[in-house]
Subunit: 279 residues, 2 copies
């Protein structure tokens, strides 16, 4: 009997109307993925682009809180979902569908379904950029995203601590393994200048993001200092980037956004999608 | 036709030989779950107890790095696994089985299997405390743990930021929903004293851990200040608690450990296991 042919999953497809899909990831939680994703999306919108933001963190959907928005997305015919609009962005999040403190105690297959639905049923319209804020880990959400749509590239966020970098290396290896271009590394919570005496303190360390980027031959897209104003911006639904580059705490974030677009131009944002080799 | 009886999953069972199982959780990543779990386990061991530590963070297993240990656990007859021993603790982690940077790109059912195996096949021997370091989220790992063994109680770790607390409330609600006693809340990265000028800076805020604990009617088990020495201890495999209560950065951690044992005595550590109501 001839060997049964291995069943290949269908190749990831472009998302109709969407030029560039940027995944913001990290192996680890709490390093500032959502803060970066939200501010990056805002900056690209402020630069005149059409931008969508998909909050793919099903268990901890923080995008609505950070953007200061809530509401129930409209369900159109054919079960198609209209994203909410805020700050010039089109936004979708599990947090809109399940607001409040009730947790979604979901096993993996449910994660797969909701991400498939967000990718297939949300009416994004024409977008130049879709930013996807990933949850921690290298599991169902990441796999479903990568296997379903052609992700243009991944921005990897880390803090400089050794422990964070251990998880970040796993995330880089994952994106490599599935042939998603790693656009580069952002070192968040990079250093801290005491607001009282002005002296620098490396609370979580400093510089190991650059070292890790070098190790993998990818660019360091920037370092974002520990600035309580950035955290307060997220906690109050007013991300610092919304006040422009000259606003308090926003400078490094604008610099990262510019590095991301430059890098996208370099790798050719319209390159053919990745060939997923994992099953 | 009579309605088909709803199939109840088997009730969670005590783990033979293990008196007390403490889950260290949080909805969110990066708040210091592993730092607390590792130091709590070390302190209980230093107080003369027999302690095991189960690193249940499959995608980001940081316990080996934080304890400075590596090695392949011995596989005994019947596929039983011997935990490693270090700092007076028995320890098991996916990090021992899959060291290095290669990620485990696993969907939910694989998470379920490995946690079942860690609970069923690891030869813990007699333990007074088994500390389980949970990953972020409210998904497969949490469900499998809670549905398999009778967890005595959960310690919830958070930072004081609004965004972290949003996820933490989901974690508390999850444990409540499955009838696992919430032992209390630990506010980590609570405040920061500049090492240069000594003045306090609330980088991530301060005090909202206490507010959230009060809101749910559970104790605040303590506040742990931002102290780069605690981070360096984890990054270098020498957790601060290993140097004793008088060692640098360890005081608040010892205070939390005492609050945890006092609270366990209060709730009756030998109470009957939880009745899991989720399916």
């Amino acid at each position: 009997m001839p060997p049964r042919p291995v069943q290949q999953p269908p190749a990831p497809q472009p998302l109709p109307g969407v030029d560039t899909i940027i995944a913001v990831g990290s192996g680890k939680g709490g390093v500032g993925k959502t803060t970066l994703a939200v501010n990056l999306a805002l900056i690209l919108a402020k630069l005149g682009h059409k931008v969508g933001l998909l909050d793919a963190d099903v268990y901890g959907p923080n995008v609505p809180l950070m953007l200061g928005i809530s509401g129930q997305p409209k369900v159109l015919g054919d079960n198609r979902i209209e994203p909410l609009e805020a700050h010039g962005l089109k936004v979708i999040s599990v947090g809109f569908l399940n607001p409040g403190d009730k947790p979604l105690i979901w096993r993996g297959p449910m994660l797969h379904s909701i991400i498939k639905q967000f990718l297939g049923s949300v009416v994004w319209g024409e977008l130049e950029y879709l930013i996807v804020d990933l949850p921690p880990g290298t599991g169902d959400v990441q796999l479903t995203l990568i296997q379903t749509v052609a992700v243009t590239g991944a921005v990897i966020v880390t803090t400089p601590s050794t422990v964070a970098l251990a998880d970040v290396r796993k995330a880089i290896e994952m994106f490599r393994q599935v042939n998603v271009e790693v656009l580069g590394v952002v070192e968040n919570m990079s250093t801290f200048a005491c607001p009282h005496c002005g002296k620098a303190v490396d609370i979580f360390g400093h510089g190991d993001g650059a070292t890790t980027a070098k190790e993998y031959g990818v660019p360091l897209l920037g370092e974002i200092e520990i600035d309580p104003r950035i955290r307060v911006g997220g906690d109050t639904g007013k991300p610092v980037a919304s006040l422009g580059e000259g606003g308090p705490g926003a400078k490094s974030l604008y610099s990262v956004a510019r590095a991301v677009t430059a890098r996208l131009a370099e790798v050719g944002a319209n390159a053919s999608g990745p060939a997923v080799q994992i099953d």
